[in-house]
């Protein structure tokens, strides 16, 4: 780890101000990716702005049509939340299978989506459920937020404050976890929200989360699991690594989408 300045922000404004005055400041949420990166000297921010004490960044609220989750809400909180488990059980289940108990009790939704790891679960959850990402400056649809591998639409200093999920009619997430890391080799969120069917895929693509158009077409309005299983997904532009080839991942997309659709019922 290289040296850095540490600042514990007391409010959103305080955090944003600290970031803008730093040479190369970085927000610290749960630190589940950032801290290991620092320890391995793969990053050298001048300042870390810790969001842990910004109280109004954490919490879950239900405004009837949507559930809004504060950026600093941990995965464990989402997984156990009465509101989430009753209104969007697919999202609670997704959060409940991220990493391990230690990660789930430190890692946050805001940190996860701002990092946009191509094998993380939340990006599929956000895009599949057609969530809105709320920052200190604006609101934007999840599809526009995740731009590429570890890249988001966030501008320098822009802070994710919450994610708002419309309550779907039906949804389920199916994940094939990496047997070592438990990240998604392929994870698919299938959801039907206000008549629209979505299948968002994480883990598979070289450019991060994406909507699988051919799967969505096959699922149709009835979430036809059998039809999704028959879709031959192209392996072009899919990840290949020591755990799974691009072809195996392509195969997993159909199968996991089909299983998610069957679970969503």
């Amino acid at each position: 780890m290289y040296n850095f300045n540490y600042k514990k922000a007391s409010s959103r404004d305080d955090a944003v101000a600290a970031q803008s005055s730093a040479d190369d400041g970085s927000y610290l949420a749960g630190g589940m990716t950032l801290i290991p990166t620092l320890k391995q000297r793969l990053a050298q921010p001048s300042d870390l702005i810790d969001l842990a004490d910004v109280g109004d960044l954490a919490g879950i609220s239900d405004d009837g049509g949507a559930i809004t989750i504060g950026a600093m809400t941990t995965h464990a909180t989402v997984a156990e939340s009465e509101v989430v488990t009753s209104k969007i059980p697919a999202l609670a289940a997704l959060a409940g299978h991220i990493g391990d108990p230690q990660v789930r009790n430190r890692g946050t939704i805001g940190g996860s989506i701002a990092n946009n790891d191509p094998a993380a679960d939340y990006p599929a959850g956000c895009v599949g459920l057609n969530a809105t990402i709320i920052t200190n400056k604006r609101e934007l649809p999840a599809e526009d937020f995740f731009t590429d591998l570890f890249e988001t639409a966030l501008e320098e200093g822009e802070l994710v404050t919450a994610v708002s999920f419309p309550i779907p009619d039906k949804a389920a997430y199916a994940k094939f976890p990496n047997p070592a890391s438990r990240y998604a080799i392929v994870g698919v969120m299938v959801a039907q929200t206000g008549g629209e069917t979505r299948a968002a895929v994480t883990g598979a693509s070289q450019s991060g989360v994406f909507r699988a158009a051919d799967i969505e077409a096959a699922l149709g309005s009835g979430l036809d699991a059998a039809a999704a299983k028959e879709v031959k997904v192209s392996a072009d532009n899919l990840n290949a690594d020591i755990h799974a080839s691009a072809e195996y991942r392509a195969h997993l997309i159909s199968i996991m989408a089909s299983r998610a659709a069957a679970a969503a019922g």
């Binding site: 094939f176 070592a180 755990h243 195969h251």
Partner: protein, 749 residues
């Protein structure tokens, strides 16, 4: 078993290390600190194979904060033409493993080490060491290493009269296999491969070494043998053993992988040169790249039987990766594979192959799971061909008292038959299976070991007991020894404190390995406790002024042996301890033994799997292991050993493997990429302990720690075969491979 009351032996008493571990107070090697301590860091080879042309450490030495630099020049050179055995190791290879000498032999091979005032400075200074290499072609896999044109790692090691990567062979013969196969109606011959897998201990290698100005050296380290640490460090640094005190820290797992040194001699030289205590801790990546996993293997097994179900001949050839320097566990593979069976004609050959990967280290029944995977897979096919139940086939041929094993011994009383009978009778074996589910069985053997062990049993002034033994506790030996001592002395186990001594405070004790610790140390403790009881009786006799022969020790107190001895109130341990000074002084005795009579361990496993036909995932649904445990001195720990072995076997069979990239580097050197199972991947692993006490041991102990892993790979593969009709001859049966085989059965090979 003798006629003891067995109040404590057989009880799952509270483990003595539990409270310290769960509250974070247990002191592991990396937790140790000393005033003035500095940090050591290792420069490791970026190449899989290269000749070292030159090393220039001058810039590193001049770097601010650097206190010492060592290279192979600081480590004793054991010339390659003269073997120097130390246990199962050879110091010729050990000196070259801890620090590359003529060549670097694998990616991650240590080249030099730097000690500096901080870990970061030491790491930075390593980068300032200027290396010049002549990069050489490299070879990783066995099949490539034994090709005639393969790059040769050690030009001076010959096989068949020419330089070769085959660096050792071992052969077991019984009867005449050619004659045997001539009688066979059914002959099945198959080839198999397994991948190297790491022990996966959670605690990386770590040590703190202080060499004082007078040369007196103290080593705190994580190892499976403080005496091994002392001996190897002394030999590699040219110091007398009496100058070294090796203190075993609490250990975070070993499974065999901590039976050799990596850091201790290097830290010793850094401390000697710098005059400061030096701490070294491996990263997980260092552990995965440069410490010893177990061998990958390539084997062929052929078994012949008559049509009435008699196995008449068996033959096996087992090639094992040794890593960069000779010494793979061919004895375990070639010796244990056929050991469970009474087969008249056996020929078993083990072949040691070096290649450009880290030198292997022991891993739980080293080599035996590899042998059993091949043999037990073929046996399954033989049973199928003969239409005999696979456990019935094993039972018919099961070794028993008097059976002559191909690897040498004629078995004394063993409990193998009992494990198969228990499996046949168990409800698991008859439980119905669903769609895409299958059941497999397999058996296995491990030698178990005896050897040197020392113990000291001291009575405290208030009449309690301190037992000191010399083996790091990696599997519950302290808890079990507390039970043994409490039983012998007739007192509550909570009054017995069991400690692991260091090399200065307890007599020589060989490694924690070979499933030997409880077997050997219980004998030393029994001997010591017997002497203590004799002394206690003598002291009581003195107090009562009667003959010592007229005193007996029962239920923790001295009593007159009979009415003729006189009428006296019994004297408790506390009563006698209170008068120790007046009756002859402190009470305590020790023993230093070379134990014999360790007898083999046998196990039989039943495994049910379900295959996800869309994804290729093999899920273990139910697993029951049956093991002759001799005497379960502490049943919860024995059960834990059985479950732990099976869990490691499931990882080995289904997902774990070292993966090398196109440059000969390990591509998955960490738990984010190395696919070890976790609890949520496993069902409850049921353990059925069968007690056939070892008659050669005072408590009936047999080693229990290693054999639980041996049958697992084959039991799982046989279950997959039963589910799919596909026989996987190469491990791991990872989901992409299983899916490919479902689509194209050749992919199973």
């Amino acid at each position: 078993m003798n006629e003891m009351s067995n109040k404590w032996i057989g009880q799952s008493t509270i483990r003595p290390d539990g409270a310290e571990k769960v509250t974070g107070r247990a002191e592991f090697a990396a937790d140790t600190n000393m005033p003035g301590m500095i940090w050591g860091s290792v420069l490791r080879s970026p190449h899989a194979h290269a000749r070292i042309v030159s090393i220039d450490t001058s810039k590193a030495e001049a770097h601010p904060g650097v206190k010492a630099v060592v290279t192979a020049q600081d480590i004793v050179d054991f010339p390659v033409d003269t073997p120097v055995p130390l246990g199962i190791q050879d110091m010729r290879w050990m000196c070259r493993n801890i620090m590359a000498r003529e060549k670097v032999l694998f990616h991650g091979h240590p080249l030099a080490a730097v000690a500096a005032t901080s870990e970061a400075i030491a790491a930075e200074a390593c980068k300032l060491i200027e290396m010049e290499y002549e990069v050489l072609p490299w070879v990783i896999e066995i099949e490539d290493a034994i090709k005639p044109d393969a790059p040769i790692l050690h030009e001076y090691l010959e096989h068949d009269g020419k330089p070769s990567n085959i660096t050792g062979t071992l052969e077991h013969k019984l009867g005449d296999v050619e004659e045997g196969f001539a009688q066979a109606d059914v002959i099945i011959e198959r080839s198999f491969t397994t991948r190297p897998v790491h022990q996966g201990y959670i605690e990386p290698h770590a040590c703190l070494v202080s060499v004082a100005a007078d040369g007196k050296t103290t080593i705190w380290s994580s190892s499976q043998g403080q005496f091994m640490v002392r001996a190897m460090t002394a030999m590699l640094t040219d110091m007398p053993q009496s100058d070294i005190r090796a203190i075993p820290a609490e250990i975070g797992g070993g499974f065999g992988g901590k039976t050799i040194v990596y850091l201790e001699p290097v830290a010793t030289m850094l401390s000697k040169k710098s005059g400061r205590p030096v701490k070294m801790v491996m990263s997980r990546e260092d552990v995965m790249r440069a410490s010893g996993p177990t061998s990958g293997s390539m084997s062929t097994v052929k078994i012949g039987a008559t049509k009435d179900g008699q196995i008449v001949a068996a033959e096996g050839t087992f090639y094992l990766q040794a890593g960069a320097l000779p010494g793979s566990p061919i004895r375990g593979a070639a010796g244990c594979g056929f050991a469970p069976y009474n087969i008249p004609n056996v020929h078993s050959v083990g072949i040691d192959v070096v290649s450009n990967r880290s030198k292997v280290a022991a891993y739980r029944a080293p080599g035996a799971p590899i042998g059993a995977f091949a043999v037990e897979s073929v046996l399954d096919e033989v049973a199928e061909a003969l239409n005999i139940d696979p456990l019935e086939l094993r039972l018919r041929h099961a070794a028993r008292e008097g059976t002559k094993a191909a690897h040498g011994p004629t078995y004394p009383l063993i409990g193998f038959v009992e494990t198969i009978e228990a499996a046949i009778e168990h409800p698991h074996y008859k439980a119905p299976l669903g769609k895409h589910q299958g059941r497999g069985v397999a058996s296995g053997f491990w030698f178990n070991a005896g050897g040197e062990s020392s113990a000291q049993v001291n009575i405290t002034e208030d009449g309690n007991v301190v037992v000191t033994t010399g083996h790091p506790d990696i599997g519950g030996s302290r808890a079990a020894i507390a039970n043994v001592a409490a039983e012998l002395l007739g007192i509550d186990y909570r009054r017995v404190s069991v400690l692991i001594g260091d090399t200065a405070t307890v007599g020589y004790s060989n490694l924690t390995g070979g499933s030997r610790v409880l077997f050997a140390s219980a004998m030393a403790v029994t001997d010591s406790a017997g002497q203590v009881i004799t002394t206690l009786c003598e002291r009581a006799a003195k107090i009562w002024d009667i003959d010592p022969d007229a005193v007996t020790w029962e239920d923790g107190e001295a009593r007159p042996a009979g009415d003729n001895a006189g009428q006296f109130e019994p004297l408790s341990l506390a009563d006698i301890a209170a008068q120790a000074t007046q009756t002859g002084g402190p009470i305590g005795h020790g023993a230093q033994l070379n134990t014999t009579g360790a007898q083999g361990g046998f196990a039989t496993h039943i495994c049910d799997v379900e295959v996800d036909m869309d994804l290729g995932i093999v899920k273990v649904l139910r697993y029951t292991s049956f093991q002759d445990v001799g005497r379960a001195v502490h049943p919860a720990y024995v059960e834990g050993q059985m479950q732990g072995g099976v869990a490691q076997g499931i990882g080995w069979a289904l997902n774990e493997e070292y993966i090398f990239d196109k440059d000969g580097h390990v591509d998955n050197p960490g738990f984010l990429d190395y696919r070890m199972p976790v609890c949520s991947d496993l069902p409850m692993l049921d353990a059925v302990m069968i007690e056939v006490p070892n008659p050669a041991h005072p408590q009936g102990v047999r080693g229990v720690g290693e054999v639980p892993l041996v049958p697992a790979l084959a039991a799982i593969a046989n279950a997959v075969h039963n589910a799919l009709g596909l026989r996987f001859s190469s491990l791991p049966m990872s989901p992409p491979k299983v899916l490919a085989a479902l689509e194209m059965p050749e992919a199973a090979e």
